[in-house]
């Protein structure tokens, strides 16, 4: 890889590293919209205090728009994991120079990335709404609201 100074990478000449170079830029531009949109919906329009099982189910299991949320999250999770772990690899590759150590580091990095991509995609694709659990949660929320309003009256 070519360097124009300490730590400064310039565009690779070809091969696998050039493919990664393009991937980082294209996935990065897509993640600007996917991740900032996701943060806006979950942290600004909603908040950590409103998000729970029922919220996630209302998005992923919606008969009309559910597939849009699932496609969004699936694209985001795959791009973000690859983008993030390749970024980590680029940082580590400045320190790990010996080929044998790079093989070990690659195995750990891409092993972990594979586990997260498979586990994350599994969650998104195979999610099925547990209606019984949501009913129970709604009943408990009503009971808690009733108890709270009763406390206010007293």
């Amino acid at each position: 890889m070519a360097y124009s100074g300490i730590g400064r990478k310039v565009r690779p000449n070809g091969g696998f590293e050039l493919a990664w170079w393009f991937f980082m830029r294209i996935s990065g531009l897509m993640l600007v919209f996917l991740a900032l949109g996701h943060l806006t919906i979950t942290h600004l329009i909603n908040s950590v205090e409103n998000i729970n099982y029922a919220f996630v189910a209302s998005r992923w299991a919606d008969p009309q728009s559910g597939w849009i949320w699932r496609l969004w999250d699936l694209t985001m999770i795959n791009l973000a994991v690859l983008h993030g772990f390749n970024g980590l690899r680029q940082i580590l590759w400045e320190q790990i120079l010996s080929p044998s150590k790079r093989v070990i580091a690659s195995t750990i990095i891409w092993g972990l990335a594979a586990v997260l991509i498979i586990g994350g995609s599994y969650s998104i694709l195979l999610f099925q709404e547990n209606r019984e659990y949501i009913q129970k949660w709604k009943a408990e929320r009503e009971a808690a609201r009733f108890a709270q309003s009763a406390r206010h009256i007293q």
Partner: protein, 173 residues
């Protein structure tokens, strides 16, 4: 230039600490700081991403445990001494998570804006003539967005969250 007085070139790899500090070094100036911030925010987001994929896995595997986990993000926790928490609500926990949430938003926003700048320079080399202006735009947009977002995210901390007790009832099963 006389070679007899010049020192030999410094060896790059001297030890773990030197490697870390050298790894943080760059040419100096704006380029160094944007590069370092891009690296640090990227690593921060990656750590959060790993945690976030694991907690979302609970949605499918254990709904009760998922609700219990996100309730902790909101400051509801069981098992603390009653003198510490108010009906299962422990405010420092909620404050810590809200401030962390703001830090995450700041990391993603900076990494996005600076990333767009990097891509512009990569695909349009003449942009490097306007480095300083472009980085000032990154900082300007970042600050302009972060001011209202910070107010929006931190303002709810004035009051205890409404209905925090219901999360406890659903989590204590």
């Amino acid at each position: 230039m006389s070679t007899s007085t010049s020192r030999p070139p410094q060896v790059y790899r001297r030890g773990t600490w030197a490697r870390i500090t050298e790894g943080l070094r760059y040419g100096g100036g704006i380029g160094q700081w944007s590069w370092l911030l891009h690296r640090v925010t990227g690593l921060g987001i990656l750590v959060f991403l790993i945690i976030h994929i694991i907690d979302t896995f609970l949605v499918v595997a254990y709904p009760e445990l998922y609700d219990h986990t996100v309730a902790i993000y909101g400051g509801s926790i069981t098992g603390l001494p009653t003198s510490w928490s108010m009906n299962g609500y422990y405010w420092p926990l909620r404050w810590a998570f809200r401030i962390g949430e703001l830090g995450l938003i700041a990391c993603v926003l900076f990494h996005s804006l600076n990333g767009v700048r990097v891509v512009m320079v990569d695909f349009w080399p003449r942009a490097s003539l306007h480095q300083r202006v472009m980085f000032n735009w990154v900082l300007g947009i970042f600050v302009a967005i972060m001011i209202p977002v910070s107010i929006w995210v931190l303002l709810p901390l004035r009051h205890a969250p409404e209905m925090h007790s219901r999360v406890i009832t659903s989590a204590s099963m």
